[in-house]
């Protein structure tokens, strides 16, 4: 168990490789209750959500979710988040555990709308059910047609007798669902899902597998790929920035950066020499320090050692030879596009 923002979280239950494989080939269950929730309510809830996020929160339809970011005025990340539109007067944000207080203050300080933001993390347990058989597993527990929920959409419905927000979202690169519900039902729903998934080989999964899965999927982790000194353009997240939507916090800085161009850029890499590039290792380009590894490790699916790193923007193209300093030894690697793993849609 590790202490993670005050939560006791298992890094692994039965072993990271086995848990990882379960999610890629069958189904895995994650307790991600440490994630924070912030809710915005009021006549201008949408306007506040739009003002503080980079993506087009204002264009969301009821029952739709989107990946987005909260930025500082200087364009750096406060956090990366999921925005769910429950109704035109109610938005539900899922935020990173360690950032929730900061995120909440950021929203409250920016709020000049007829809307109220509230930190409601204590009212939710979050379970993630991920993998090609996540749907089959959960379908046994609800009369709602889960296949009708499109990717990045959600419903408010009962599952195993528990009222929940059931979203088709995830952080693994697989199909799956994230379920938010009242904490008093945690044990009941956890056990019901494990029972339902037993015939499919479901495994409880810890933070370790969560990290290897999202790394293969090329997804950012706050504190690694993104933080206060990194902008969405640098992190390859320009797609969650909607400059055309009008004013939002951080827009002016991003507009300047767009004009001037970015100095550094996130790119994937694969080790070609013997060694594993890990978080914070230095990256050399032609023998000179040029960047750093944000996340790195073995890819259980590809059976290669992969990672992400920041490089000068003009060098951050696929096929660039780099060296990663692994315990004082430069080891050869080559940059490549992400994601490293993409599921085949059946």
């Amino acid at each position: 168990m590790v202490d993670f923002g005050g939560w006791h979280m298992p890094v692994e239950y039965s072993g990271i490789l086995g848990e990882h494989a379960a999610v890629r080939t069958a189904v895995g269950l994650f307790d991600v209750s440490h994630m924070g929730e912030i809710e915005i309510r009021g006549a201008e809830a949408g306007a506040l959500a739009d003002h503080v996020t980079t993506n087009s929160a204002g264009k969301l339809k009821t029952g739709q979710a989107q990946y987005s970011a909260l930025l500082y005025e200087h364009g750096g990340f406060v956090d990366d988040i999921l925005v769910h539109k429950i109704s035109s007067e109610h938005y539900f944000l899922c935020v990173n555990a360690s950032n929730q207080e900061k995120d909440y203050r950021h929203l409250a300080d920016s709020n000049r709308f007829q809307a109220a933001a509230e930190l409601t993390s204590d009212r939710y347990t979050q379970l993630a059910v991920q993998g090609p058989l996540a749907l089959a597993t959960l379908q046994k527990l609800t009369d709602a047609g889960l296949d009708a929920i499109r990717y990045y959409h959600f419903i408010d419905h009962s599952i195993a007798g528990v009222r929940a927000l059931i979203a088709r979202t995830g952080y693994t690169g697989e199909d799956g669902f994230e379920i938010y519900f009242a904490p008093e039902h945690s044990e009941r729903l956890w056990n019901a899902i494990l029972d339902a998934g037993q015939e499919f080989g479901i495994k409880p999964c810890g933070l370790g597998a969560r990290n290897t899965l999202r790394l293969e999927a090329g997804m950012a982790l706050y504190g690694h790929e993104i933080h206060a000194s990194i902008t969405p353009f640098e992190a390859g997240l320009g797609w969650i920035v909607k400059m055309e939507k009008g004013e939002f916090i951080g827009r002016a800085a991003l507009a300047r950066q767009k004009e001037q161009g970015i100095a550094r850029k996130l790119i994937g890499f694969e080790m070609t020499g013997r060694g594993i590039g890990r978080d914070d290792y230095e990256v050399f380009l032609e023998g000179v320090p040029a960047g750093w590894v944000t996340s790195g490790g073995p890819s259980p699916t590809l059976k290669r050692n992969i990672g992400m790193c920041y490089l000068p923007a003009d060098k951050a193209a696929a096929g660039q030879r780099i060296e990663i300093v692994v315990r004082n030894q430069p080891v050869e690697a080559v940059t490549r596009t992400m994601p490293f793993y993409k599921r085949t849609i059946s």
């Binding site: 692994e12 490789l17 370790g208």
Partner: protein
């Protein structure tokens, strides 16, 4: 239960003496702490290692960990099977997952290592200590 015929260090290595050499590995406790092992970096045959100094590393999915030489000497043999099958370290840490064979240059060093019983006690304290 740790094998009685092996000697242990607080860095979680073991040595089994065989003639003038010591066979070295990491303990079952170490492999459990590391989780799935994916990569092992060992010294070359002929390399001189010194007791208490780093002689290699072992990497699991989640972390990298140094291996310290439990005894001084010259590396006589390495377990080549580990390059292709690092999971042997998880499956059989005290037998098939051995790391290197070291020709002992200071055989008396063995006397300073922990017995199986003392190591077991040490691990129990480590586990309850935090």
């Amino acid at each position: 239960m740790y094998p009685q015929d092996q000697h242990y260090t607080k860095q979680h290595e073991w040595v089994r003496v065989a003639g003038d050499a010591g066979i070295v590995g990491i303990t079952d406790y170490a492999q459990q702490q590391l989780g799935d092992i994916v990569y092992v970096d060992l010294p070359r045959v002929g390399a001189k290692v010194e007791q208490g100094k780093v002689m290699g590393s072992v990497e699991s999915v989640k972390a990298v960990s140094d291996i310290y030489a439990p005894v001084s000497g010259e590396v006589a043999e390495t377990n080549e099977a580990l390059a292709a099958s690092p999971e042997k370290l998880n499956e059989s840490p005290h037998e098939g997952g051995w790391l290197v064979k070291i020709r002992l240059s200071v055989p008396d060093e063995i006397q300073g290592l922990l017995s199986a019983a003392d190591y077991e006690k040490y691990v129990a304290e480590e586990e309850t200590g935090h």
